[in-house]
Symmetry: C2
Subunit: 514 residues, 2 copies
């Protein structure tokens, strides 16, 4: 079929797409998402068809930049259009849609075609949904980890032991990594840590670290930092460890499912060359994992996949019923972490958690009495010194003091209207509120919690303070607080949680950090 | 967040989409497929975000035509961008992803938001995939039928009894509808038939009918034809009975799944006001439904959903091991059907099938001895006369003769290289071959089969003839035939079907007509 070429602006994320009128598509015998070959001047380009009654006039074919430049087209020139076959990977996806188990080379082909943009969003969505619906067994999860690792870039460190830690997240204020990395590096182990920025939370580890130093290093720069200091804290987005994951996560996010969580995490650990790994699974009603049973099931899968990938894994199921430490928000948290490294302030739960996890890593690496060694690295100032080395190596100011970290000006403190004890803190409301103050975009925004679960509270005592860089954001957070309780102070539990009068729209969503 | 507006060409099928740089999206706290609100000059527009590192520079937001004109934007102007919430329908889809049953108003909201383009392709794909993976029960199928009916246009005929027929297709050359509609209308019943064009087959009923008369009537024109003649054969694409289905089918096609088959068919029958329906389920190894057991299960669902929708349904499980009649291809089939209506030629299986199905419809409407009445309407010429009335009412030439129907010039006839009986005909190879000759685009192309299963064949006797309008297409079909057997002549079955030496890529796909 001969059609006139028309240039299309948007590129659907680098995919080779073409738009045809429904009439032409029917005459060619294709529906939307079929594959066509476009021929011009002896050159062929494959494309995914979108058919529409409005977008394209009959007799014309709209072509994205990729195909346009590939063929060297000009507006209005005639091109020959033919039906092409679907890629084999789509047939493998169809098998999974029918509940079949996928073999390694089938999985590799799906992941490769995903990265090469040969599969449409609809097809990738169906793949992810089918993995969620039918589940993936440990063979498939292992194979997916390997395929995602093979299609990404990886680090080659000449070290026998490389360790890593990972938290699936979900607890606001969890700056544990900012302590664990320097503790471990100070103890002589290599820990090339990559982290993500916040997506639905007030701050990710990359956001916190960015307050102290540049985090958008490329692979060569990251490797140099690690060789020099034994550690680093780098934003994962800039090192492209698992490009397939960046595509899969875009599908999982609106659907609030994450069948690829384990392969995603493990492929990236494999990519930095880790052979020892501790995974933190915070557990609590307000966290992502609600029960210890759930946490143990997840831990079991991490251990098993790790052993198949040659990574020795231990999991830490940790208390996640309230924020870690007192600070929530990039700058407030960076400040609290730096103070903790310097032996100032007393965020006991933060120090407890950091030394627990660092201790597990040290024991996994063969040292005995890991927690004591970790605590000593912290107490002696070696961890602080190591952190300043890492800051310098990543291009930050190694002399940075907690006082220099800018916190937002606009503040408001909430007082308790009764006496008693702090009974509960609602993690997701804390996160919502901190985001409304401007986190993670406004790094100085966020909140400080003054009382934690179990603390005695007098009437009129401050419960928490919110910080915003712009007064409009402070007001927005105050409006949101009106009528909502984010903490409970009292002497006894109130037994009625809430009343259901009409069919509720269940909006709970989750996204485990990866 | 303030960003500069940039105009995007492609519109992703009328959806309100916006493109942001990954950095800006992260700072705003959104991932791809999140919802944002774009504000300009006091006007708000909702949009689905696509984030990309290449497509959009930091500080800019690309906006599709829908949003661009809605806001009255100009290149480079500042717009305010805010996070918006996901539509409720997405939360309902998430419930289905977790295996929950959907209630009617949840389904209605999903279907409405699909038609209003509020859901992304990824989300619609997940919905369809989840329906496929978890299955949908009869309540959900009924509710989906109602929701698809409510979101489309419908016909209001002032008749107590309105009948319809539907075939799920899969057998080449099945021109049964071209006989059933005039037989039924001639017997005084009302049959407002809509049909689809071919997608993966050589000809759909709409393609066949188009050889005899215009078929792209709108709803008002179709209604007029039915009031005047009791019947019609109209292309479903021009009457918009179930716009949601047009969207769902685009997702189902590449995935080769069709969980929405029954709701799709039943919603359209409801939309034309049918209260009696006969569904033809061709059954055979080369058809879409392979076994009689499968056919019966499908039939059971049709009956049950019909009864819930107030449509009395009967199903005809029919023989589908070979083409119906002798002709395959729009013009060849229209010619054969017209000849059969005129009492010429002897496609016995076609006449048998048409009178079987017409008879079932008549009996469903309360007449006894339906098949005899149908055969009499055909024999007496009343059906032919009615067909000519319908042709005239739809704007065709009522005096059309079989000789006037143009058949392609380029022909090639295959002879049998042995004597024996016709043992089998491979339906899907027949369809492939007919498409290679140019069907359905070249209406005069296709093939004529000279021997059918059970016929005695002498060595050198013609088995089939292929027709093409362009010699290149004839050659393409001949090349394809080289080494392939589409029919088997012999005295005994060969027992070895084929040998599997390495892991095969299973490419079997199907799409039931709807």
């Amino acid at each position: 079929m001969i059609l006139k070429a028309v240039f299309l602006g948007l590129e659907a994320g680098g995919k080779a797409v073409a738009a045809m009128n429904v009439q032409d598509a029917e005459r060619l015998g294709v529906l939307s998402l079929a594959r066509i070959t476009i021929l011009f001047n002896g050159v062929e380009q494959a494309a995914i068809v979108h058919s529409s009654t409005e977008l394209m006039q009959p007799g014309c074919i709209g072509v994205c930049r990729k195909v346009w430049t590939g063929l060297g087209l000009k507006e209005g020139l005639d091109v020959e259009v033919e039906i092409a076959t679907f890629p084999d990977s789509l047939y493998f996806i169809r098998n999974k849609l029918n509940g079949r188990k996928l073999a390694y080379d089938e999985i590799l082909e799906i992941v490769e075609d995903t990265v090469k943009e040969k599969l449409s969003d609809v097809e990738i969505s169906a793949f992810v949904t089918a993995l969620h619906s039918f589940g993936l067994d440990l063979d498939e999860a292992t194979n997916l980890s390997m395929a995602m690792f093979k299609t990404g870039s990886s680090m080659k460190l000449d070290r026998e032991v490389v360790v890593d830690k990972h938290s699936i997240g979900g607890v606001p204020g969890d700056k544990t990594t900012l302590l664990v990395v320097p503790i471990i590096a100070a103890c002589g182990l290599t820990i090339p840590k990559t982290s993500s920025g916040a997506i639905t939370s007030p701050a990710g580890t990359a956001d916190r670290a960015k307050v102290l130093m540049p985090v958008d290093l490329n692979m060569a720069e990251m490797q140099e930092v690690v060789v020099k200091t034994n550690g680093c804290i780098v934003w994962g987005g800039s090192v492209h460890l698992a490009p397939a994951d960046d595509i899969f996560v875009k599908v999982e996010y609106p659907l609030s499912i994450d069948p690829l969580l384990l392969p995603s995490i493990m492929s990236k650990k494999k990519a930095v060359g880790a052979n020892l790994l501790v995974v933190d699974i915070p557990c609590g009603r307000g966290a992502k994992v609600k029960t210890i049973g759930e946490a143990d099931l997840l831990a079991k899968d991490f251990l098993e996949i790790g052993s198949r990938l040659g990574i020795k894994v231990r999991c830490a199921v940790t208390y996640g019923e309230q924020p870690i430490g007192y600070a929530v928000g990039p700058a407030l948290e960076a400040k609290e972490a730096l103070q903790a490294l310097m032996g100032r302030g007393s965020p006991l739960d933060l120090i407890e958690k950091a030394t627990d996890i660092a201790g597990m890593i040290l024991e996994l690496a063969g040292k005995s009495d890991g927690k004591r060694i970790a605590a000593e690295a912290l107490r002696s100032g070696k961890a602080e010194q190591k952190m300043r080395e890492i800051i310098a190596a990543q291009g930050g100011d190694p002399k940075i003091t907690p006082e220099e970290i800018a916190i937002a000006d606009h503040q408001f403190t909430f007082q308790s209207d009764r006496s008693g004890h702090m009974l509960w803190i609602n993690n997701s409301l804390v996160a919502d509120l901190a985001r409304l103050t401007g986190c993670p975009k406004d790094s100085g925004a966020g909140m400080l919690i003054h009382k934690k679960i179990g603390d005695a509270v007098d009437k009129g005592e401050p419960l928490f303070t919110i910080f915003a860089q712009r007064s409009a954001n402070l007001q927005r957070a105050l409006d949101r607080l009106d009528g909502l309780k984010i903490m409970g102070v009292g002497d006894r539990m109130e037994m009625l949680i809430h009343e259901v009068r009409e069919r509720p729209v269940i909006k709970r969503s989750f996204a485990l950090d990866r």
